[in-house]
Symmetry: C2
Subunit: 326 residues, 2 copies
Amino acid sequence: MLEHGGNLRDAARRYGRDDWIDLSTGINPHGYPAAAPSPAAWHRLPEPDPALIDAACAYYRAPQLLSVAGTQAAIQALPRLRAPSRVAVSSPSYAEHAHHWNLHGHARRLVPYAALDEAVASSDVVVVVNPNNPTGETVAPDVLLDWSARLHARGGWLVVDEAFGDTAPHLSVAAHAGQPGLIVLRSVGKFFGLAGLRLGFVAAHERLLTQLADLLGPWTISGPAQEVALQALRDTRWQHATQASLAAGGERLSQLLLKYDIASSGTPLFRWWPQVRPEAFHEHMASRGIWCRLFREAARGVRVGLPAIEPEWRRLEQALHEWSKG
Amino acid sequence: MLEHGGNLRDAARRYGRDDWIDLSTGINPHGYPAAAPSPAAWHRLPEPDPALIDAACAYYRAPQLLSVAGTQAAIQALPRLRAPSRVAVSSPSYAEHAHHWNLHGHARRLVPYAALDEAVASSDVVVVVNPNNPTGETVAPDVLLDWSARLHARGGWLVVDEAFGDTAPHLSVAAHAGQPGLIVLRSVGKFFGLAGLRLGFVAAHERLLTQLADLLGPWTISGPAQEVALQALRDTRWQHATQASLAAGGERLSQLLLKYDIASSGTPLFRWWPQVRPEAFHEHMASRGIWCRLFREAARGVRVGLPAIEPEWRRLEQALHEWSKG
């Protein structure tokens, strides 16, 4: 399996301490405070709740959606729904896309964001993460819709992973996912801080959603996940407050890094920067109980998420201070 | 998608009433009363908890296990882990096995329980549900281990779905799943009444479990599911009490049916019988707000699960009485 953030058990095993600050993911550290699910949610087979789809369509402004057991489920399934194709995956980016489009007979290549427009002409499928994880690069919606139309004209797909799109709603093309050839992935894990649920959504043409549902099979979303997500997706007051607090948190993190001469890019949920010796930085932080995300390959650098509370901010600053003196 | 029990929304839509007694599944109506999961379970990426695997190995007496998002996830994945093979699936039985072994280039045939021994000689893979859903047919462990050895001798697999095996532990071959070629599926949904969790386990040789884990990808089990299942799998007192109460409930259901001349087979969690006009029986019950499981095809008949409370038992008896006079 590919390496990911969030693997705090690995950290604990390797460094033998139990006071970790986990900055290794881009998950909102102040997750949605949902009321406990009903007993029936645990006990019954989880039928899909139409109210959940309605709430998600309203929140994502999508014409139709399929609920999936995390964006990951869709990332794994989409390459199985096409005959072998020429696939361009944006790079550096979330590695699971490239990994799964490399299977099932596809001819997959990695394309830098700046070269994606050119790649559209010579591809059947283009995969973009928008905004990008970890670099924060973005593509404007009108550009995406142009790519989607060009790809669709020859039976192709544009896959847009908007897992970190909640804090940049102006970038979303989910509203256009009724048109064939455009597939938009959304995650409940990051903005809502509900990564434990295993719930995401796919916005796409009805026919593709039916194929995807058939492939994924019945009862993919747990009952408790459905109930908790329904609360979160309907709670516009919490959503507005969270937009503001994440924007402030992201800006604070960016400024803190800059204070120690680290120029980062990213989204309100994480900052990333290219780092000359990322292993050394990661080790420096880990030895102080701060678990960052180390990128060893294409996106060679470091990503940090938002600290949850003031003592965590202080420990991060102290560790950055010591790094800058090292 | 295939038809299943538990689809109470369909029932409500078709019959327009809201006082349903749901007997359409074989799920324990008195599910495990778990304490609420920790906030971290909802919010963090769900790393696999080694303690959950330890508890499951102890409960199932299996040498090693992989947690999966319900038995369904394994049923869908296993046919993808073999080159096209000759596959014998027990019939009538849980239809998802036959459905998925019919894909991916396999040559799948349906084999009655009585002819399975013969089918072993001419198959690469044999799939058995033990005890069977819905008929309750069983195969003795020594017979299964013989089949497994014969299949393994030529690189084959025996897949034993023990989803309803908790109430018949003497039938389980999970303890032998260290030997290559034997794959045992277990479900947390039925006996523990936790179908909403989406959690099951696969016991098999380490190498196969690694292949399966790679195919299924990361974070397949939600955090809350892991915490709730850990409580349930460790709670031997609840497990013993539930063995007794389910045995009594199953016997009571069997006797009640017999009182109205219905000779059924099954397990403590459900009773099934071949019914001449199963659609008429199903309709009779549905018009009285009792949702049974109708089998239209191979297992042509009706399956009923356990009523939860005395008023449900009384309504079931009244409906059976009216059927017998009809």
